[in-house]
Subunit: 210 residues, 2 copies
């Protein structure tokens, strides 16, 4: 099974690498990082480069596509080659998925019109611009479309996707393999649980924290 993860400049690395770590463990899975052109792409802060091994045209019909987020999605919303690769791939995928602001790219292709969708909490309302109904949930599943909320939600989404593809036992084995038994030292991962002052801090300094 070919699983393609989109790579681009100003990507949020964990959006891509969290799901990669889960999906690459699926028996028979081949995860490929694809971009407009092969090469190294930097994260939004420039501190890390991920390599795309294949160009869009080299992998037009993977069984699964995953669209990560990051500030770079703002430019890609108007980038026709990227949108066209997503649209064409989606015609034959078993699953079309996104993490964080990756769902804005799905929206820009028209795929979210009339559907429920999710993204990073800070830009949730922006989904309406694409005719989608924003849902404040960590994972939103709409048929073969599966979307995760911000950044780290991609790990949870990928485990659900692993179960859909290979069954609950394989997904559980992967969860144990990556020892995903979360014990965050704070309960601040959602606007529903974070102290209001923290929510305001992140809103005011989104360039630093979000």
């Amino acid at each position: 099974m070919d699983i393609a993860i989109l790579i681009f400049d100003r990507i949020t690395a964990l959006d891509a690498v969290g799901p990669y770590e889960v999906l690459s463990r699926l028996p028979g899975a081949r995860v490929t990082f694809v971009a407009a052109a092969p090469g190294q792409y930097r994260t939004e802060n420039g501190m890390l480069a991920l390599t795309a091994d294949r160009a869009f045209g080299e992998l037009p019909h993977p069984e699964v596509i995953l669209i990560p987020g990051g500030f770079g999605t703002r430019a890609l919303i108007n980038d026709e080659p990227t949108l066209e690769w997503i649209r064409e791939a989606d015609k034959t995928t078993e699953f079309t998925t996104s993490v964080c602001t990756g769902s804005l790219l799905l929206g820009a292709t028209g795929l979210l019109a009339g559907r429920q969708a999710t993204t990073h909490w800070m830009v949730l309302e922006k989904l309406r611009e694409f005719g989608a109904e924003p849902v404040s949930e960590r994972i939103v599943e709409q048929g073969k479309l599966i979307m995760a909320a911000g950044v780290s939600a991609g790990i949870d989404m990928a485990l659900l996707l692993a179960a859909r593809i290979a069954g609950d036992e394989v997904a559980q084995a992967i969860q144990l393999g990556i020892e995903y038994d979360p014990q965050p030292p704070f309960n601040s991962g959602s606007t529903k649980t974070a102290p209001p002052a923290i929510v305001e801090l992140v809103r005011a300094r989104a360039d630093q924290f979000a």
Copy 2:
């Protein structure tokens, strides 16, 4: 503040990228991926390349070092340039940290002798070879040494480290920024919670799942 993350062939990507996603958001932090030589290094399955921007000699005294794990640590346990960089850096670090089997490299430098330590659950007992006392906990803190259990535990550890460096509010803001509100679809992330058959499956097929 300079935060150096070690990169090497056959690394587990999430061990490095989970903490990177947290620590790169610390105000004033500069995260640098370092290796024996700059260049691209592949994960254990070959599906992803991460780039190291600096060689050991270019960043001898960062304030924080983070040693990720992966099958590649087996070779590095006997690699003197790597061990020497860790040893030398540790002399002046504020925090010396590891994720997953990265702690075996800390062990190989001698830094864990007589200390409690943790690593991926499958190799926990191996810590004894370095004179350490294995502890089955997600995060083990021994003075300025902070170690995380397997793979995804690096995210929890990095949030704790962020709090130690910049205070609880900044760590909480980062947690909200990466929307780390884990909701795994199964409760299989620890040998204490996974069904026994799943634990056996992962042990029997460690090459696939671990």
